[in-house]
């Protein structure tokens, strides 16, 4: 089988699930005739028609709210945020309405909210964000953020079949930069399960999305230059977090770096660090360190963006500091 990109893998998942289940449909801005700003939904309109591939007004509240209503009635909508930055417009309806629906009213919201996320693409403050932390804080939502093409497909299929709302963050830097051969058959990656992206014994890097690839680069560097063996954990799911995988790597290497592209304060790294502190304190030989973006809006100019976002050299420095304890 031919290799497909991360972006094509997402599209494959959409097509397979829409073929499999007539309750699955797509809504979003410019997703029909145009195929979406990044062409994730290209070809879907021709294949499924405009009743199942719905071009909407520019209305994130309207789109997400309508998905919830359709979900209550047994549909499985997949809605696109043209850029995930715009999910902020739907924050109320996602956190107040969707996230609470099952708990307060026994109303199912089997829906996926997906969209291009993340930086390293010179997108500036409103086309580069990583707003996942605001949603993992909300009980009732699930959050996934794949780093590989295989996981992009398998997690999308799992998200569509999930009986709750799943926020599906797609890293736009990875859309066309990585490729993989898709596993044969009905490829599902379960939500809530992390992946060991690289085995190691000296230091662990816990991360997700595009920084997984930076962590792997850094692991190569310190292996070559310092003889260090680095384990890289790709979380894949951020809500729920795979505590077992996190604690297993802590117990294995006793030195942990948590890495994410999101800003530092209130980011997921803080939560992971707290869980390690509560459950694995005796296993630590060094403080848990964080490598994250600086706490500022993401600027546009390459010199500025590169300075703000985590780079391989930052990771190398942090790993060396951990190894020094």
């Amino acid at each position: 089988m031919a290799e497909v990109t991360y972006l094509e893998a997402i599209r494959e998942a959409l097509v397979e699930e829409m073929d499999r289940d007539e309750n699955v449909f797509c809504m979003g801005e410019d997703i029909g005739a145009y195929g979406g700003a990044f062409k994730v939904t290209e070809g879907l309109l021709a294949r499924f028609g405009e009743s199942r591939v719905i071009d909407t007004p520019i209305s994130e509240i309207g789109i997400v709210g309508a998905a919830a209503g359709a979900g209550h009635m047994g549909m499985r909508p997949v809605v696109e945020m043209q850029f995930i930055d715009f999910i902020a417009n739907a924050y109320d309806i996602l956190t107040n309405y969707v996230a609470t629906a099952r708990y307060r009213a026994f109303l199912p919201c089997p829906m996926v909210v997906r969209g291009p996320s993340g930086g390293y693409v010179r997108g500036g403050p409103f086309h580069s964000q990583n707003p996942e932390a605001g949603f993992i804080h909300t009980p009732g939502l699930k959050v996934v953020y794949p780093a590989t093409a295989e996981d992009a497909k398998g997690l999308m299929k799992a998200a569509i079949r999930d009986d709750d709302c799943v926020l599906f963050f797609e890293h736009k830097y990875l859309y066309r930069r990585i490729k993989a051969e898709m596993p044969a058959g009905d490829h599902i990656v379960p939500i809530g399960k992390a992946r060991v992206a690289r085995e190691g014994k000296d230091v662990s890097i816990i991360t997700y999305a595009a920084p997984v690839w930076k962590a792997l680069e850094a692991a190569d560097v310190v292996e070559k230059e310092d003889g260090l063996s680095v384990e890289v954990i790709d979380l894949r799911s951020l809500a729920p977090l795979d505590d077992d995988a996190i604690f297993a790597t802590v117990r294995k290497t006793n030195r942990v770096l948590v890495l994410h592209e999101d800003t530092r304060t209130g980011g997921i790294a803080g939560e992971i660090t707290a869980r390690i502190n509560e459950s694995c304190f005796e296993w630590l030989d060094a403080p848990v360190l964080r490598v994250t973006a600086h706490d500022i809006p993401l600027p546009y100019a390459p010199q500025l963006e590169d300075f703000v976002l985590p780079q391989t050299s930052d990771i190398v420095r942090a790993v060396r500091r951990l190894a020094g304890y």
């Binding site: 909407t56 994130e60 309207g62 359709a70 307060r104």
Partner: protein
């Protein structure tokens, strides 16, 4: 035009078409001297209601009011745990509109639509248990007041952020259309909610898609303490229909038959594939936002005037006495039936148990919780074993099962 409000006057041609004719319609004389706005007077769907149905309208309005009066008594006894929201003076607007739906249709109520929910099958016992935060309330003590729903009976519970139910009901009715079901949705908003982004995005999306949805704006004069003059520069809320390219209609919200007529026409229009209609029902909120609100912001005499001159139940009593020939004994019989039902429901609700604390931990997700229990909080590690129920929790059913 930059300062429309400067004109001060709220009269003249509305520029808004009545349902069905698609054109500007001349204002017709309202039936009631209290009606500020006319409704389309021919044909009147209410002419097709049977005598029993017309008496049912009185029953539902009386049940709404009596049940709320009981809740006030319980509130004063501190048996209502949270706030109490009245629909005093708005019973006709809630009951008349919900009565225009078929059983298969779905509505989403607002805080003053207790009457709509009763018509759709909510029971006084459920309402009382909700307000009293009982463990066997429809939400098992998780939500307040009339915030609950049941898709089987055709009502979807509201949430407190206003306007959100408009896009949600757009999605409900989108499903009706995708599945080619002969069903209509009805969503209520207040005058205040028309200012929200959710209202705008929801009604616009539904209008573009020509979904079978009726949007009712209940103009009761106030959003909490804010009068409509501070809510909108539009001369009237129904004018907003023009901007969405949909028909708009106004009716006297305190005339239950007028409410039924205008809603039924919009429902029929939606069912026939005509798309969304915006209805503005003119009414008045005689109690505060909630029971704690002393209404200090209301001009002196305003509430008393509405109570004396434009009470929807008193007005309808006049109608059923005159046009239906209802006898005093007949009316007293309905009142007695309502009182007995509310008494029985109160007794049963008072006997209901409170929720078990561990019950709080389950039911967030369809799957059993993935979160680790707080091990130092006694018993929480057993919460799922104790409380997770295969039937009713995390399933497609909206049923909550028995206590």
């Amino acid at each position: 035009m930059a300062n429309k409000k400067g004109g001060g006057k709220r009269e003249g041609g509305s520029g808004t078409a009545l349902i069905g004719n698609g054109r500007r319609s001349a204002a017709t004389k309202a039936e009631s001297p209290d009606s500020r706005f006319p409704i389309s007077d021919s044909p009147r769907p209410s002419a097709g209601l049977t005598r029993d149905q017309k008496l049912d309208l009185y029953y539902w309005m009386r049940l709404t009011r009596t049940l709320e009066e009981r809740l006030v008594a319980l509130y004063r006894q501190t048996k209502v745990v949270g706030g109490l929201f009245r629909s005093l003076g708005q019973e006709a607007d809630a009951v008349g509109s919900a009565f225009a739906l078929e059983r298969r249709d779905v509505l989403s109520p607002l805080i003053r639509n207790l009457g709509s929910m009763l018509v759709k099958g909510a029971t006084p016992l459920e309402i009382l248990r909700q307000y009293m935060a009982k463990g066997d309330s429809p939400t098992r003590g998780r939500e307040l007041n009339i915030h609950f729903g049941d898709t089987d009976r055709g009502f979807i519970g509201q949430i407190s952020p206003l306007g959100d139910m408009v896009p949600v009901m757009a999605g409900v009715t989108l499903t009706f259309r995708m599945r080619r079901q002969d069903r209509v949705g009805l969503v209520y908003v207040g005058d205040g909610a028309t200012s929200t982004g959710a209202f705008h995005e929801g009604i616009n999306f539904a209008a573009v898609q020509r979904l079978p949805l009726v949007v009712i704006v209940e103009n009761n004069g106030y959003a909490y303490s804010t009068p409509i003059e501070k809510q909108t520069a539009a001369r009237q809320f129904v004018d907003k229909a023009i901007g969405y390219g949909i028909p708009g209609a106004q009716a006297d919200g305190n005339d239950v038959l007028a409410v039924y007529d205008v809603t039924r026409q919009a429902v029929d229009h939606a069912r026939a594939g005509g798309g969304v209609t915006l209805i503005e029902l003119m009414t008045y909120r005689r109690k505060g936002h909630a029971e704690h609100d002393n209404q200090s912001y209301v001009p002196a005499g305003e509430i008393d005037r509405w109570a004396a001159e434009n009470d929807p139940i008193n007005r309808y009593l006049g109608v059923i006495r005159e046009s239906l020939g209802a006898t005093e004994a007949e009316i007293a019989g309905i009142d007695a039936r309502v009182a007995a039902e509310v008494d029985a429901a109160t007794d049963e609700a008072e006997r209901s148990p409170p929720p078990q604390p561990l019950d709080a931990l389950v039911g967030v997700y369809a799957d059993p919780p993935g979160e680790r229990p707080l091990w130092f909080r006694e018993g929480s590690d057993r919460a799922v074993d104790v409380n997770e129920r295969a039937e009713g929790w995390g399933t497609w059913s909206s049923r909550t099962g028995s206590a």
